[in-house]
């Protein structure tokens, strides 16, 4: 279980997070929604230790994430970055098998390559793609390679940062379905940040809305449409009028 309590983070004078309290149950898929620039990515990076919160506590299974052994902690995570974040100089299969080729759990090259090709197949990519460079792939394929890399070491927890941004609706649907399938199949805990409502409905068990640096609303995905929270209603219906200012 991931738990965040009173997490604050500012960049200079810009107070991004103002006391985030959130719990993500083991094996569940939590989607965090919110407008652009509301600190969704910062929140996710705080959990991973990529950004250090100013105050507040983040725990994983009761252990403070700032006090755990970093390598063992990070080995439990997989992450799909918004732009894929594939390493340009490495072939696709080397990207997917990056963790498998290094560190304490290092595998022989052939075995790592075989796992990478299997993970590529799992996300719908042909084995021929394995020897290409990321720059030779389309945006949707790069996203799928990023997804294959995120699941390559079969992590317990997977983070997805804007998984469908920049993709056409069909490819977005494919990615959403893949994420849901993988999370269910692997029994992983998932945390997704997005402002794409079709992703929310496809991926989420529970939804949390981040606004004004705090969790404005949280509940099961089935309750999203029925809630009377004006912030959630404005967001999910994409209305210009409402408590969320359109000029930020």
């Amino acid at each position: 279980m991931i738990s965040l309590t009173g997490v604050h983070k500012a960049f200079g004078r810009n107070q991004v997070l103002r006391g985030v309290d959130l719990t993500i149950a083991r094996g569940s898929s939590m989607v965090i929604i919110g407008g652009s620039g509301t600190g969704k990515s910062v929140l996710l990076k705080c959990v991973l230790g990529l950004v250090r919160p100013d105050t507040g506590r983040i725990t994983l299974d009761g252990e403070d994430v700032t006090k755990v052994e970093r390598d063992a902690f990070l080995a439990r995570f997989g992450m799909l970055f918004q732009g894929g974040a594939l390493f340009d100089s490495l072939k696709v299969w080397e990207n997917v098998a990056f963790r498998l080729l290094r560190g304490s759990g290092k595998l022989p090259k052939d075995q790592a390559r075989a796992i990478a090709i299997e993970k590529l197949r799992r996300v719908g990519l042909r084995p021929e793609v394995a020897d290409q460079l990321p720059a030779e792939l389309s945006g949707g394929m790069q996203k799928r390679v990023g997804l294959a890399r995120a699941i390559a070491a079969e992590p317990e927890i997977i983070f997805f940062d804007e998984p469908t941004t920049g993709l056409d609706p069909i490819m977005a649907g494919v990615i959403n379905a893949l994420i849901r399938e993988i999370v269910v199949e692997m029994g992983a805990t998932a945390m997704t940040i997005t402002h794409d409502m079709s992703s929310v409905r496809a991926i989420a068990d529970t939804v949390a809305m981040l606004h004004g640096g705090v969790i404005q609303w949280t509940g099961p995905v089935g309750a999203l449409d029925a809630t009377s929270d004006p912030y959630v209603q404005q967001f999910i219906h994409g209305r210009a009028e409402g408590p969320i200012e359109s000029v930020r």
Binding site: D71, F87, R102, R149
Partner: protein, 259 residues
């Protein structure tokens, strides 16, 4: 109002000192990681090729033309007091002690520092460095250590090659254009150069290689956002590397030959 320029000067000095402090801490971290596993031999070999092998053409051409021009200048200047005969000796000492290492250092600063800074800065803005962290890989160990080690080891070799080619440039101009005897030119060069001249050249090369690669890595990792951030990091890295190389050259020359 009158104190504004002084305040600006003070801020600039403080900023420069703070930057120097941050670079020094970064250098300490890189050296610390050099001594602790894991090591990344593949990345190190790639850096050796990128920094060493692929820099050879530009280093060779720079040294060749500089050696030739130096011979012409010394011959022309020497004529004023009938000292044309010292061309082989002055070309040799000028190239080996000073111009060879400095020119190689500056060319590495232009070619390698810029490329390292731009590559790492791009990795930063495209979240590849964050991705490295999530894949349990220390960015400094994976990106900076192989490059800085390769720079420190290969630039002295490039300096040695540059020295030989530079002296060769002087030899070609002197023998083909200025009428020097080939055998006596080589004999004069070999007799005049001493071991400390060559050793100082190689030491300078190692220091300049360390500076050029370290500064590229540092500014790449400190890059701001977007294309402007990458451009700014690259520009600052090249300028900082050039200044630090020239400053280090002065310090090393003072220490090794000052007395």
């Amino acid at each position: 109002m009158l104190t504004d320029p002084l305040a600006a000067l003070g801020r600039a000095v403080f900023n420069a000192l703070a930057s120097l402090g941050r670079v020094t801490i970064f250098a300490g971290q890189v050296i610390g990681h050099m001594l602790r596993p894991p090591f990344y031999p593949r990345e190190f070999l790639q850096a050796l090729v990128q920094i060493g092998w692929l820099s050879l053409p530009v280093i060779g051409l720079t040294a060749l033309f500089t050696g030739g021009a130096l011979a012409l200048q010394i011959y022309s200047g020497g004529q004023r007091f009938s000292a044309e005969a010292v061309v082989p000796q002055i070309v040799a000492i000028g190239i080996v002690r000073e111009l060879g290492p400095v020119l190689v250092g500056l060319m590495i600063g232009a070619r390698v520092t810029s490329s390292i800074a731009a590559e790492i800065a791009t990795m930063k803005v495209t979240e590849q460095i964050d991705a490295l962290v999530t894949l349990s890989t220390h960015p400094l160990k994976y990106l900076a250590v192989p490059r800085v080690m390769a720079g420190t080891l290969t630039v002295p070799l490039l300096v040695a090659v540059g020295d030989v080619i530079g002296v060769m440039g002087g030899f070609l101009v002197s023998t083909e254009q200025l009428g020097f005897n080939r055998a006596s030119y080589i004999q004069n060069t070999v007799d005049f150069l001493q071991t400390p001249d060559v050793v100082s050249s190689l030491i300078k090369g190692a220091v300049f290689g360390f500076i050029a690669t370290l500064i590229g890595c540092y500014h790449g990792m400190q890059s701001g956002r977007g294309a402007q951030g990458v451009g700014g990091a690259t520009k600052t890295a090249v300028a900082a590397a050039a200044i630090l190389i020239l400053a280090a050259n002065f310090l090393l020359t003072s220490v090794m030959f000052g007395s």
